[in-house]
């Protein structure tokens, strides 16, 4: 895969998992996976073993994000090899179990593709999350999905930041794909959001089927939004937030944020402006689960990645 003109060869993507309930209150994935566990007709494709799987059943049962710790941050090498059995936090045990079933992470036995279904309270629309700019298989899949969804929007968020990247449940697979669809409140199932996620997966599975049949996908370019940094809320000495996302920024995921633009509004009405050095594209604006992670929104920059042609080996 060294030059633009070479076609990259990948082995058949036969083992595919669809994860729902990694966060137990993100209802589209929970509902879709439960549906497909009962009747998997919709996700069947020739040459593909598609496995729907609820990753965090205890959190799903309580309709909460997690029980002890965030499962979608738990797949670190330390956690995956930690001894301690039942003394470990529930989600660390789950991570080890998931790694046994769908991994081991980094090994040839790992699943080919894992789709991890998430919702966000942010106005992100349909977003695909990419973990590596060098995964040409994923880039081609995301290009296929974007074109199939057009004119409806489906954007690609890429988190390759050495410090901000985190160990997701999907990272167990050779090709991890995050699906993030919003806005949807936690614990709520919105029909439009549910159907949008269903359509994304349909296209993704179609792509895999075509790939496995030997279709060659020519080189393409994919616009991505690369994660730059997380911006926290202003807080007081006790750690309580003292301002909210400004009404001008609220719901404006993916729109340019320029230096000097309103960013936060204090509880007594004062505006705090963005002080960055250039225009950024914010996303994950006002995500409910990120208050405790000290993240009001993330900044990204637009980039065009080039994917080489791919074909089944």
């Amino acid at each position: 895969m060294s030059s633009y003109n070479n076609t990259a060869r990948f082995s058949e993507a036969r083992r595919v998992a669809i994860f729902g309930g990694t966060h137990g209150n993100e209802m589209s994935g929970v509902t879709l996976v439960n549906l497909w566990t009962k009747n998997g007709t919709e996700i069947q494709r020739k040459g593909v073993e598609a496995v729907p799987f609820i990753t965090n059943p205890k959190a799903v049962e309580k309709c909460t994000r997690y029980v002890d710790t965030d499962l979608n941050r738990a797949f670190t090498p330390e956690n995956l090899s930690a001894p301690g059995g039942n003394d470990l936090p529930y989600e660390v045990l789950r991570a080890q179990e998931i790694n046994r079933i769908f991994g081991p992470k980094g090994s040839p036995e790992a699943y080919d593709v894992i789709f991890d279904l998430h919702n966000t309270t942010s106005n992100m629309g349909c977003t695909l999350i990419l973990e590596s700019s060098k995964d040409h298989f994923n880039l081609q899949m995301m290009n296929y999905i974007k074109k199939a969804m057009a004119p409806a929007s489906c954007l690609v968020l890429m988190n390759e930041h050495p410090l901000l990247k985190y160990s997701t449940s999907r990272s167990v697979a050779k090709h991890p794909v995050g699906l993030e669809v919003g806005p949807q409140p936690q614990g709520v199932l919105r029909s439009n959001i549910f159907e949008a996620m269903r359509v994304i997966l349909k296209h993704a599975l179609d792509f895999i089927e075509l790939f496995n049949e030997g279709v060659e996908f020519p080189p393409c370019t994919v616009e991505v939004f690369r994660v730059l940094e997380w911006i926290d809320y202003p807080r007081d000495a006790n750690g309580n937030i003292i301002a909210m996302v400004h009404p001008n920024l609220q719901d404006c995921d993916w729109e340019p944020l320029n230096p000097g633009d309103p960013m936060f509004q204090t509880f007594d009405g004062k505006t705090i402006h963005y002080q960055g050095s250039g225009t950024v594209y914010p996303t994950f604006i006002n995500e409910a689960a990120y208050y405790e992670k000290q993240q009001a929104f993330i900044t990204t920059r637009r980039e065009t990645l080039v994917a080489s042609a791919i074909i089944k080996a």
């Binding site: 509902t31 549906l35 909460t64 936690q186 614990g187 549910f194 909210m244 609220q250 409910a288």
Partner: protein, 308 residues
């Protein structure tokens, strides 16, 4: 209509965090407490974070819904340390800003809530209370760009289960749509503006202003509709239809779509013309409510003024 007079409203409680993940009230009460606001003109203000343990874990409740604990029966039932937290807390709150039905109770309790439903700004109250309706009429005139609505729960005060029934007068402010755990500036600003106008109204009332009578529309709860469910497992089998989603207070008529099943079938409404609200409220899945239905009524208000 004859004018009605009332004693001044001089003790008001502003409450937030009754549901610990409904963030507008939490932040408003915290801000008022930080600024040490205990008097606004002639009105003394108590600010209460009603369910601090639920606020701390950002959940609706710890053991049981606090906002169902204020019936006379529950407020007078014996409690021990092992009783559910919220039952005990309700009795503490009743002692602090009640007791319900007594002379010592707060003149007015305002309890701030959020909903995931697209309800805008609503005032929820029990009995036909001239204060609440006059305040509503005043807000409607002052907040022209916001639809301010009244929802009446026709339940006798003794059986009234929510916090605001503890005061001599009270109402809940319900603002949405806002997800649990999130504070939206637009929703916060709308509620803050409403609360500021409420205190202006209280000043004017207390200083002798007569508020003219008139007519106010209100919605009164008629019935609730649950999600279609699997008869064996109880799991829901459909989502609110996209044509009903976000259309709170738009008249629902026979034949209109209300649910879309996961297998793609549309379920249609089969009933009399009514107004849906609390459409797809997160907390109501466990209460088996997909949406409420209301009748619209017209209420005639007498002019009111302070006694003396």
């Amino acid at each position: 209509m004859e004018s009605v007079s009332f004693p001044p409203l001089s003790r008001v409680a502003v409450c937030g965090g009754t549901h610990g993940n409904e963030m507008t009230g939490v932040y408003m009460v915290r801000h008022l407490q930080k600024e040490k606001i205990d008097k606004i003109g002639s009105v003394s203000v108590s600010t209460v974070l009603t369910n601090p343990r639920a606020v701390e874990i950002c959940r609706r409740y710890v053991e049981t819904d606090l906002n169902r604990c204020f019936t006379e029966a529950l407020l007078n039932s014996p409690v021990t340390d092992s009783s559910p937290y919220e039952l005990r807390r309700a009795q503490e709150l009743n002692a602090q800003i009640g007791p319900k039905g007594s002379k010592e109770a707060m003149d007015l309790i305002i309890d701030i809530h959020n909903t995931t439903s697209n309800m805008g700004l609503c005032f929820i109250f029990y009995s036909i209370d001239w204060f609440t309706l006059h305040i509503l009429k005043y807000l409607q005139s002052k907040m022209a760009s916001v639809e301010v609505r009244a929802i009446q729960l026709d339940i006798p005060i003794a059986e009234a289960y929510s916090l605001e029934s503890v005061g001599k007068h009270g109402f809940a402010i319900e603002a949405g749509p806002q997800p649990n755990g999130v504070v939206r500036a637009d929703i916060h600003n709308m509620v803050k503006e409403a609360v500021d106008h409420i205190f202006s109204w209280l000043q004017e009332f207390n200083s002798g202003n007569t508020f003219e009578g008139g007519e106010v529309e209100a919605y009164t709860l008629e019935k609730s509709i649950d999600y279609p469910r699997n008869p064996v497992t109880g799991e829901i089998t459909a989502a609110i239809h996209s044509q009903l989603q976000d259309n709170d207070f738009k008249l629902l008529q026979r034949g209109n779509p209300i649910f879309m099943s996961f297998s793609g079938e549309t379920v249609k409404y089969d009933g009399e013309d009514l107004y849906p609200f609390f459409v797809n409220e997160c907390a109501y899945y466990e209460k088996k409510i997909a949406f409420h239905l209301a009748r619209k009524i017209k209420l005639t208000l007498p002019p009111i003024k302070v006694t003396g």
